[in-house]
C-alpha cells in the first residue's frame, strides 16, 4: 500500500443542489485511484479533521461556493489563519490549518478549489452549469494530483 501524502477533503451536502459538486468531485477523484492520495467526503469541516491532515504533506479542499468569481472555479493556496469567529460545529480551511499549526507546530501545504454554484435548493439535482464547471475543475485537480509533491512546511 502506498504511503498517503495528499489528502483531498471534499465538502458538501448532496441533497442541496449544487452543493453536491464537492462530493461528486470526490467520487471521480477516488475512481482515479491515484497513488498516495486519500479522499474524504464531509458535510462540513470539523475540528477532528486535523487528525487526518497532520499525516500528509498537502491537502486539497474542494467545495461549492458563490464566491468563486467569474470563472468556472477558483483555486488558491490557503494559509493558516485564525478566524475571528468562535470555533464550533463547522470550520474553514484556514482555521483548521491554524489549529493544526498551533497544536502540532507544522502544517501541510493547502489549496482550496471553489466550484461556482448556481443553486443550493433542496434536492439531488445539480444544475447543468455546475456540472460543466465541475468538469473544468476536475481538469485542474487531475493536473494538481499529478504534479510533483511539495515538501512539508515547518512553521
Amino acid at each position: 500500500m502506498n504511503e498517503v501524502h495528499t489528502l483531498v477533503i471534499a465538502c458538501g451536502n448532496p441533497l442541496r443542489g449544487d452543493d453536491a459538486v464537492g462530493p461528486r468531485a470526490a467520487d471521480i477523484v477516488k475512481s482515479w485511484d491515484a497513488p498516495g492520495v486519500k479522499v474524504l467526503v464531509v458535510h462540513q469541516l470539523v475540528p477532528e479533521l486535523i487528525g487526518e491532515m497532520k499525516q500528509v504533506e498537502r491537502v486539497l479542499f474542494i467545495d461549492a461556493g458563490t464566491n468563486a468569481g467569474e470563472g468556472a472555479f477558483q483555486s488558491r493556496i490557503v494559509e493558516p489563519k485564525k478566524s475571528s469567529r468562535l470555533l464550533g460545529h463547522h470550520e474553514t480551511p484556514a482555521n483548521l490549518l491554524a489549529m493544526l499549526r498551533d497544536l502540532e507546530g507544522r502544517v501541510p501545504q493547502a489549496w482550496l478549489v471553489t466550484i461556482s454554484a448556481v443553486s443550493f435548493h433542496h434536492g439531488a439535482e445539480v444544475t447543468e452549469e455546475a456540472r460543466n464547471r465541475l468538469q473544468r475543475a476536475l481538469a485542474w485537480i487531475g493536473a494538481f494530483l499529478g504534479t510533483e509533491r511539495s515538501c512539508m512546511k515547518s512553521v
Binding site: 458535510h43 462540513q44 486535523i50 470555533l87 460545529h89 497544536l103
Partner: protein, 479 residues
C-alpha cells in the same frame, strides 16, 4: 418605561437564537427569555411518507446528533412492525449511541465551554476560543479532538459515514462491526480514558475555586427526567422513564411508551421551541430538566466502577441532587467516562460481528413510539401510520425543547445576579450566554412544530402605543 437588552445571536451554540433581558424603571432585571428564531418543520412535512423512510429523514434533522434521531426513529419503527429486534442489533445500536454521546459531549466541553472555564469569562474575547485553549492547555485541546474523533470513527465504522448514517432501521440494523475496527477502537480506549480523567480532574479543581458559578448559574429546584434501567441505574437506550424532584424523591416512573401521561407540551409565543412540562404539576410550574445532569441525578448507579466512584464525588460536591445547571459540564465529563467504560465492556462481545441483525415484518401496529437518550436528553419519536405504513401524524419531543423552561430560569438568574443597570458589558454578556451553553442546546433538533406558535406582528408608535396587532393563527387583527 420597561427596557430590554437583547443578545442576538447567542454564540457557540448549535442554531440561531436570541435572549431578551427585561429591566424595570430602576434598571433592575425583572425577567429574561431565551428565544429560538429558526424554524424547521419536520413534524409536518414528513407526513405522508412511508415510516420506513423516517429513520433516514429524521437523521437529517441534525448534523451534530443524527444518531439519536436514527435510533429513536428506528425504535418507533420496531413498534409499528411489532417485532423484538435481534439481540446483536440491540448491542450494535447501544454501541453507536455510546459513541454519539462521547463525540457530542467532547465537542460541547472541550471546544465550546472549556475556553470560558480555562481562560475565564473576563478574558480577552479574541482569545477566549479554542486557539486560546490550544495556547494555554494544548494537551487538553488535543485530547478533546481525539475523543471526538474516536466517537465519530465508531459511528462511521458502523454506519458507513460519520454524518447521517442510514444504518439503524425498523427491525434492526444494516451491518455489524468489523473485527478490524473493533481492535482499532479497543487499542485507543486507554488514551481516551486518560483524556476523560484529565478533564474531570481539571473541572474539579475549577469547582474548588469557583463556587459562585455553582450558586448562580441556574441553581433552582426542578424535576429531572431520563431513562433508567429496571434496577434504577444509568441508561441511554431503553428502560424506564423516571421523574425525580430536586430532593431526590422519585415522583413518577413509567414505561416510556406511556410518556403522554406525564408530559404535556405548550408553544410559547416568542420562540419556535416547544416547551414540554410535567403534566401532574402543569404549565409553567412543571419545569423539568433532561440531559446529562438529569441522567446523573436520577440514577442509582452508573453501572461501571470508575464512573461510580466519580458519581459518589459528584453527589458529595453537589450536596445530593445537583440543582445548579453549571453541573451539566461536570455530568457531561462523568458520562464520557461511563461511556468509555461501557465501550470497553461491549466491544469484545462476539455478537457485534453477528449476521443476524434484522427482524422482517410488515405493518402490524398503526402507532409506534421510540424513546432513547440523545446526548442532550431524552428523545421521543411518536408516529401514527395508516395500514400501508404512510405517516399520518408525527410528534417529536426533543431534549432542547424539554430544557427550554429551565433555560429561561437559568438566564434570568444569571442576569439578575450580574447585570447592573441598562448597559451590559462583554464579560457579563458572555456569562449570560454561558448559562445557555451549559445546556448545550441544539436548536436544529428542536424546532419542528408547524402552526402551533401564533405569529404575532405588532405595529407600535415610537411612544409604545399599540397601533395594530396581526395574528397568523386566525385571531382577529385589532387596532
Amino acid at each position: 418605561m420597561a427596557k430590554r437588552i437583547i443578545i442576538d445571536p447567542v454564540s457557540r451554540i448549535e442554531g440561531h437564537a436570541k435572549i431578551t433581558i427585561y429591566l424595570d424603571d430602576h434598571d433592575q432585571v425583572t425577567d429574561a427569555r431565551f428565544h429560538v428564531t429558526e424554524f424547521r418543520g419536520f413534524e409536518r412535512f414528513c407526513e405522508g411518507r412511508p415510516f420506513w423512510e423516517m429513520a433516514g429523514l429524521s437523521a437529517r434533522i441534525c448534523g451534530i446528533c443524527p444518531v439519536s434521531h436514527l435510533l429513536a426513529s428506528a425504535k418507533a419503527g420496531d413498534r409499528i412492525l411489532a417485532v423484538a429486534i435481534p439481540p446483536a442489533a440491540v448491542k450494535l445500536r447501544r454501541l453507536m449511541n455510546l459513541a454519539q454521546i462521547i463525540q457530542s459531549h467532547a465537542l460541547s466541553f472541550f471546544h465550546l465551554s472549556a475556553p470560558d472555564l480555562l481562560l475565564g469569562w473576563e478574558s480577552d474575547p479574541a482569545k477566549r476560543n479554542v486557539f486560546g485553549l490550544i495556547e494555554s492547555h494544548p494537551e487538553l485541546a488535543r485530547g478533546g479532538i481525539r475523543l471526538r474523533q474516536l466517537g465519530q470513527e465508531i459511528i462511521e465504522a458502523l454506519g458507513g459515514r460519520k454524518i447521517h448514517p442510514a444504518w439503524s432501521v425498523p427491525g434492526g440494523v444494516r451491518d455489524s462491526l468489523p473485527t478490524e475496527a473493533r481492535d482499532r477502537f479497543l487499542a485507543r480506549l486507554p488514551e481516551a480514558h486518560a483524556v476523560a480523567r484529565q478533564a474531570l480532574d481539571f473541572f474539579k479543581r475549577f469547582l474548588d475555586v469557583h463556587t459562585e458559578e455553582t450558586q448562580v448559574f441556574g441553581n433552582f429546584p426542578s424535576l429531572f427526567m431520563g431513562l433508567v434501567t429496571p434496577e434504577g441505574d444509568w441508561e441511554n437506550y431503553d428502560g424506564l422513564l423516571r421523574f425525580m424532584d430536586s430532593t431526590g424523591k422519585i415522583v413518577a416512573q413509567c414505561d416510556p411508551l406511556e410518556y403522554e401521561r406525564f408530559i404535556g407540551e405548550v408553544v410559547e409565543k416568542d420562540s419556535f421551541l416547544k416547551s414540554p412540562y410535567f403534566k401532574p404539576i402543569g404549565y409553567p410550574d412543571g419545569v423539568y430538566r433532561v440531559g446529562p445532569l438529569a441522567r446523573v441525578n436520577i440514577c442509582r448507579s452508573m453501572g461501571v466502577p470508575q464512573a461510580d466512584r466519580e458519581l459518589a464525588e459528584f453527589r458529595q460536591r453537589a450536596g445530593g441532587v445537583a440543582n445548579a445547571s453549571f453541573f451539566f459540564h461536570y455530568a457531561r465529563l462523568l458520562e464520557i467516562l461511563a461511556c468509555l467504560e461501557l465501550l470497553e465492556r461491549l466491544l469484545p462481545d462476539p455478537e457485534l460481528q453477528s449476521d443476524r441483525l434484522r427482524a422482517e415484518a410488515g405493518v402490524n401496529c398503526l402507532e409506534g413510539i421510540g424513546v432513547s437518550e440523545a446526548p442532550r436528553g431524552t428523545l421521543f419519536h411518536h408516529y401514527h401510520v395508516d395500514k400501508d405504513g404512510l405517516l399520518t401524524r408525527i410528534n417529536l419531543i426533543i431534549a432542547t425543547g424539554q430544557n427550554s423552561l429551565a433555560m429561561n430560569r437559568t438566564v434570568a438568574q444569571i442576569a439578575k445576579h450580574y447585570v447592573q443597570g441598562a448597559r451590559i458589558e462583554e464579560p457579563i454578556l458572555n456569562r449570560v450566554e454561558a448559562g445557555i451553553r451549559a445546556f448545550d442546546p441544539c436548536l436544529s433538533c428542536s424546532t419542528h412544530a408547524v402552526g402551533q406558535m401564533p405569529l404575532v406582528v405588532e405595529l407600535r408608535r415610537t411612544d409604545g402605543a399599540l397601533l395594530q396587532e396581526i395574528r397568523r393563527d386566525g385571531g382577529a387583527s385589532r387596532e
